[in-house]
């Protein structure tokens, strides 16, 4: 049983499918429900492995061991027709705190900026807020979304919207023809490469966590998840394998 981050769950589910095929008789159940659930389920023993799409806190590190599966970046997106190509950290802070409210103040057309934020508890929110050095209460949003796709659809349905999503999801959607644009931040283009070489400023680790008592079966699957054999599956989900 594996539970946790909805960002990590699809990859682990794919890996589990392959593992079940090559290891007949093994049953692996993958459930999403957020990084917080991954932490609590792994520490209470409800799950054998937890999925956590952020770094562990010091308190969490005392109980759990983190195994780095891959890296993911969070990138800012706007509509494809928006002339703005690049925004630095200061501009993003101004936009998300409503000090700047018109696109023409950051090099765009004369239009009111619609700020899309993520709902409480999402790790994309935590990482983005942490990058900006803000508190959740500082952000003044016009739209609050749950899933990455809700953010993307909000940008599509109102071209004045700015949002932030996982680079993996954004690249996949942009590649599939969805009219969104990934914004250059602090001079770095959000790509798989810039996440891999560490130059992209807003990245997060995708972790698997276990407590002290891991069953041999779970241990074997964890080793498989850590092996280079599954790097193709990680890349298929637009994440960056580490090592």
């Amino acid at each position: 049983m594996i539970t946790g981050s909805s960002t990590v769950a699809p990859v682990v589910a794919d890996v589990a499918k392959r593992y079940e095929n090559t290891h007949p008789g093994t049953r692996i159940e993958v459930q999403s429900g957020g990084s917080s659930r991954g932490i609590s389920d792994a520490s209470t023993g409800v799950a054998d492995i937890g999925m956590v799409s952020r770094a562990l806190t010091d308190e969490e590190k005392q109980k759990l061991t983190a195994h780095l599966l891959a890296a993911d970046g969070v990138c800012v997106i706007v509509h494809k027709d928006n002339p703005v190509k690049e925004l630095n950290k200061g501009q993003l802070i101004d936009i998300y705190t409503k000090k700047v409210t018109n696109w023409n103040q950051v090099g765009g057309a004369d239009a009111t900026i619609v700020v899309a934020n993520k709902a409480e508890g999402r790790s994309t929110l935590e990482i983005f807020v942490h990058f900006l050095g803000l508190d959740n209460a500082d952000i003044k949003a016009d739209v609050i979304c749950g899933e990455n796709l809700h953010v993307i659809n909000s940008v599509v349905s109102n071209p004045n919207t700015i949002g932030y999503v996982s680079i993996g999801t954004a690249s996949a959607e942009a590649g599939a023809g969805t009219p969104i644009k990934l914004i250059v931040t602090e001079g770095v283009t959000p790509t798989m490469e810039s996440v891999r070489d560490g130059s992209f400023p807003i990245t997060r680790p995708l972790n698997l966590v276990t407590d002290a008592e891991t069953s041999p079966a779970a241990r074997a699957f964890l080793d498989y998840l850590m092996s280079p054999e599954i790097h193709d599956l990680i890349e298929k989900h637009y994440f960056v394998p580490v090592r």
Partner: protein, 300 residues
Amino acid sequence: MTSSRNTTLCRSVDRLVEAVLGLLALVSGGMVLLIVWHLLAGAWPAIAAGRLGAFFTDAKWQPGSLRDPQFGVVTMLVGSSLVTLLAVVIALPVGLATAIFHRFYAPAFLERWNRRMMELLIGVPAVVFGFWGLMIVVPAIVRVAPDMPGQSLLAGGIVLGLMILPVIALTSQAALQAVPTTLLHAAAGLGLGRARTIWSIALPTARGGITSGVLLALARAIGETMAVVLVCGNIPQIPTSLFDPIRPITSTIALEMGYATSSHKALLFCAGLVLVLFTALFVGWLSFRRNDTDPGTGGA
């Protein structure tokens, strides 16, 4: 001899049927109590910690803030109420007009065809309505009010209104069909025109049934989640215009429940409890008023 045995048999079968039916009915009714019990159990940590007061006194909802966590649900109660009200305001006239047309004006084939279409509309999943709203209704609102986010009270009202429209139309039609034809014939006999008969005879007689339909629609609208979460914008605030985003309670639960840790989760259970109680009070008040002003008029 045989006949008395048959009677005994009949009676015991009857008693068995009564027991089974009673059990099933009580199970369906009792589900509500079970759900409320579950909500109470989930909400208990927050109630025991005395957080319930903050629910109604805090101005904002920002449970994830480290600097200034606040847990006010008033904005969300207002959001739930306003979007539901707007949906009924949109759906009631259209639904009633549809019902009157179906009952008194439409040719049989058209009535049949249109009624089937509305029955289909009831079956459309909420998330499809929500996606349609985000992709069609929201951009249309942005064209009207280009400086606003588009995801708004208005968008939620329109999408919800469309979802409850068939409920109101079909229950109203059933209520109109239950109006005794003798009444209508009598009206015709007195020389009243069709419009006059509908307005003065049919609608007042069917009022109880129509109100029941509206109540059903209200309850459905206030509990609706997947559609509103996609189109309302989900900002917990008191709106100053139709174009402002709002946050219904159901959205909060849907957005945050899967991602909440223990104390935050208990607060979400509290929010669910508040919504259930609020709906119960609201529906109770409406049916009380109905019985009060409208004695003797049966439902649909």
